[in-house]
Symmetry: C2
Subunit: 290 residues, 2 copies
């Protein structure tokens, strides 16, 4: 009998849910809600989703923004994109089915590991390039979470001397340079134009605008600089890029660049292949095989 | 019956050896040789040491400069401080006793984990600050080596834009700033004086020289910047500092500084306590309990 999970992806703007089986197959339509702006609405929505589907499944698997503890029961960090108090919601209290929670980037990295781009790699690091940068680290075929569950935060410094504030409150994190938002700021600084957007840069590169190309190249070089450090620290088999900005990166450039600089063994650089619902798939696979 | 190892520490200038038991206790005098400058001399010395002591021990445990494979049988990188061809020496061919090899920084990190500063920490990162910077990473009570054995290299970038060449051939690695050699270069740059030494800086700080204090503070801030990234990536319980420069760092400053910036759970910062022979002790503990 194939086991199934009610899979839910809780993001800053949208909540998705569906049914996913132990092989990672999506078995129902993907349903979608706006992310509630109050705790009361949040709890009501979750209760509704749970009660509608819990009888069809063996487990409830949640991929969420924010760090999740090592027991996969609790969001342990506050998440800037979600309503205050979100991390105090006791998901398990809404259902008798087992609820399994994992950070969305970790869950997506696990989906890539099981059935995506890093399938045959015991050691992989996934980087989700979007508004921010998410990270998911697989070491020796296991999701790496650290002592408290919060490992894999791509907040390592690109400069030691306070140039660009990061959304985390610290200065000059990789996220502040390698994200879509980071590309915008890099372009702003280089073009001396506050109004330039990430889209302008991407579009400019397509149209052969040399200034936009320079900004894009600096962004990609900053990503490369980060990969060199990650490769020397973790000695992974590969990096996997996902997220809305991943389509623009040049994996061959990055792979050659990293391998030219590292002291550890060569790495591969891939784009993610597990699709947009990798977070739900990975959370389901983790929940069903836990 | 307590098991024993013939422990050998192979460094760029000296080779030490002694007998160490399964509890990490040093059971004989520490003997010392200059590191040979030719492969022939190297092999001769090792054969002599092995044949003199192999009958007293259960295993031969070698802590060496250079990365070591995951099977602990072979040095896999070339090591700038040792004679060319060193990594091709087949240690096992010189004896019938089992030979176990580990990188010296990894071995020392393991000694700290078993009986030193990070004793009760499942997740720890050791940084050896000397001429260079060595790294040893313990995750979930196991030495972390990565896919090939070379993980834990403290060669992540402090700047993305090529300022200071590192001994590894790449630019702007943490090692090039956080090492004793890095402190010298930082002081050279700040004082515009090619002849200033690491000793001048340390001595100047002691004597209240404000320019030396500034150079020292920048060095320590660079170390802090590195720790922030390592803490966000690995979410460790603690950092442990060893090596000749460790005595000068301010662990309270670093601990407070890191914890003020990270998004993961708080970390501790300690100085190593397993002593000068931690490499031999750690290699012996690993070899005897493997």
């Amino acid at each position: 009998m194939i086991q199934k999970a009610l899979a839910i992806d809780i993001g800053g703007t949208k909540i998705y849910y569906t049914i996913i089986d132990e092989n990672g197959k999506i078995c129902a339509e993907i349903e979608k809600h706006s992310t509630p702006k109050s705790i009361a609405e949040f709890e009501k929505l979750l209760k509704n989703i749970f009660s509608k589907h819990e009888n069809e499944v063996d487990v409830i698997a949640i991929a969420t923004a924010g760090a999740v503890n090592n027991e996969n029961t609790k969001v342990i960090s506050s998440t800037a994109n979600l309503v205050e108090g979100y991390n105090a919601i006791d998901f398990q209290s809404f259902t008798k089915k087992k609820v399994f929670i994992e950070n969305d980037a970790n869950a997506a990295a696990w989906a890539e590991h099981v059935l995506g781009a890093s399938k045959n790699c015991p050691y992989s690091i996934m980087l989700t390039l979007g508004t921010g940068v998410g990270g998911g680290i697989i070491l020796n075929n296991k999701l790496y979470k650290g002592k408290s569950g919060g490992a894999g935060e791509m907040h390592f410094k690109m400069y030691p001397d306070k140039r660009r504030k990061c959304t985390c409150g610290a200065w000059d994190c990789f996220e502040a340079y390698a994200s879509g938002g980071g590309l915008k700021i890099t372009a702003e600084e280089m073009l001396n134009d506050k109004n330039v957007t990430t889209y302008d840069v991407i579009n400019g590169v397509k149209n052969g605008d040399p200034r936009m190309k320079q900004a894009f190249d600096r962004w990609q070089n900053d990503i490369l600089a980060g990969l060199v450090g990650l490769a020397n620290l973790f000695d992974p088999d590969c990096f996997v890029f996902s997220g809305s900005m991943a389509e623009f990166i040049d994996t061959e450039f990055l792979e050659n660049g990293v391998n030219a600089e590292i002291v550890t063994a060569p790495v591969k650089v891939y784009k993610a292949t597990a699709g947009n619902y990798a977070g739900m798939i990975g959370a389901s696979l983790l929940a069903l095989n836990n």
